[in-house]
């Protein structure tokens, strides 16, 4: 899987190819979770949409990466299968924006972030870096070989995370 692999909305991928780059575009209220184990040269990216699979169990079965509670375990399991170890992994969380809603009905970004934190807390996973919230959209990329992560905000500035 060398080269660029685009992760769609509600999808995930892991890789141990040195030349691979995992990219996801347009994280709005969705959250991108990036994991990387330098020693094993394993990287993974999840683009989750919604916090809780109770919304639609059938969907969770067919597309586990859509929900935080089904997508995160799958991301980690697939990375372990390639030789990654939990204690060595760098974990980065990006996204969870909101549209400007005084009524709070569009607070999916906040709920996504809360769900991710809760799941990590229960499983003793520490977040090493995050860029979360606000009213922006974010594009992220992970280079599997180097573990370099960059982020673009609203299609403009590029930051290294």
């Amino acid at each position: 899987m060398a080269g660029k692999k685009i992760i769609g909305v509600g999808d995930l991928a892991v890789s141990k190819e040195k030349g691979a780059e995992l990219v996801t575009y347009s994280l709005g209220s969705c959250i991108g979770v990036l994991i990387h184990d330098t020693a094993a040269c394993v990287g993974g990216m999840l683009h989750l949409m919604l916090p809780d699979s109770n919304l639609n169990q059938e969907r969770a079965h067919n597309q586990p990466a859509v929900f935080a509670d089904t997508g995160l375990p799958m991301l980690f399991k697939q990375a372990y299968a390639l030789g990654a170890k939990k204690g060595r992994m760098r974990v980065v969380v990006v996204g969870g924006s909101q549209v400007m809603d005084a009524g709070g009905h569009f607070n999916i970004g906040k709920r996504n972030y809360a769900a991710v934190r809760k799941i990590f807390w229960r499983n003793n996973v520490l977040i090493d870096k995050e860029d979360v919230g606000g009213n922006v959209n974010r594009t992220i990329s992970l280079e599997v070989g180097s573990g370099r992560i960059w982020m673009k905000v609203n299609g403009a500035e590029v930051k290294t995370l």
């Binding site: 919604l50 639609n56 400007m100």
Partner: protein, 283 residues
Amino acid sequence: MKLVEEILAKVEHLPGMPAIVQQILMTVSDPEFELQKVVNLVRLDQGITADVLRICNSPYYGLQTKISSLEQAIAYMGANQIVEIVLSSKVVGHFRKGQFGYRLAKGELWQHSMATALMAQKLGERLSYPDLPTLFTAALLHDLGKLILSEYVGDKFAEIEVLVRDHGMPFVQAERKVLGLDHAILGAAVARKWNLPEPITHAIAFHHNLEPARKHKGIARIVALANLLVVHLGIGSGAQGLAAPVPAGLLKEMGLKSRDVDRLSLELKDILDNADDLLNMAR
């Protein structure tokens, strides 16, 4: 010339909308229109049948049978959807450039617009909106103003960005403050120039602010919600990011709750996963 006048003058210089679009919209706005009339109109336009057949056979519509004629397409898909495909193929030409002021590459504004149109169509079906092709067209064209305003937003971006980032102002309001008008109002001016029906011009004008939309509030609401769903997934929102306001009472007026927003987001994912042919028409 004042900036507002200069921008409005550009509306006059935009290429016109093909007459067939108005003719089709006018025909189908009558709930008892004759299908044959639409077929006859469509036939006048060379190349359109090819577009219709290509899109009908795309996975989004999930048809088991391969469609090979206009009549067959209408029989299998229904007139409304054929009309929508025809309208799309007639307006896509306007969207084939990048809107770099909004940091949108070629095809991205179309992708945003088509996703909004397909989402609006689903909402319209659920809410039994009586004129789906008009709704679809309004949603497809809701950001029409960005085709013109892109250049000006690019020039004044630093000022707009300060208002949005540092003062928490919605992007559309910042446009108005800095440029004297915003993409919604400008889009409505273009739609009027193209002689599109009033429900469409109103839905375009008020997709960020429903308050003044008295007469055509139903269509404006659906377009507003469809747009917000697409924006909150970050699809083709470019420089605007998620700095779009949710009109007060929008969901309540439509009888929807927070949980419905989650469900609708899943429906939007299905659109994004399956409607490649439509979403990428302008690439």
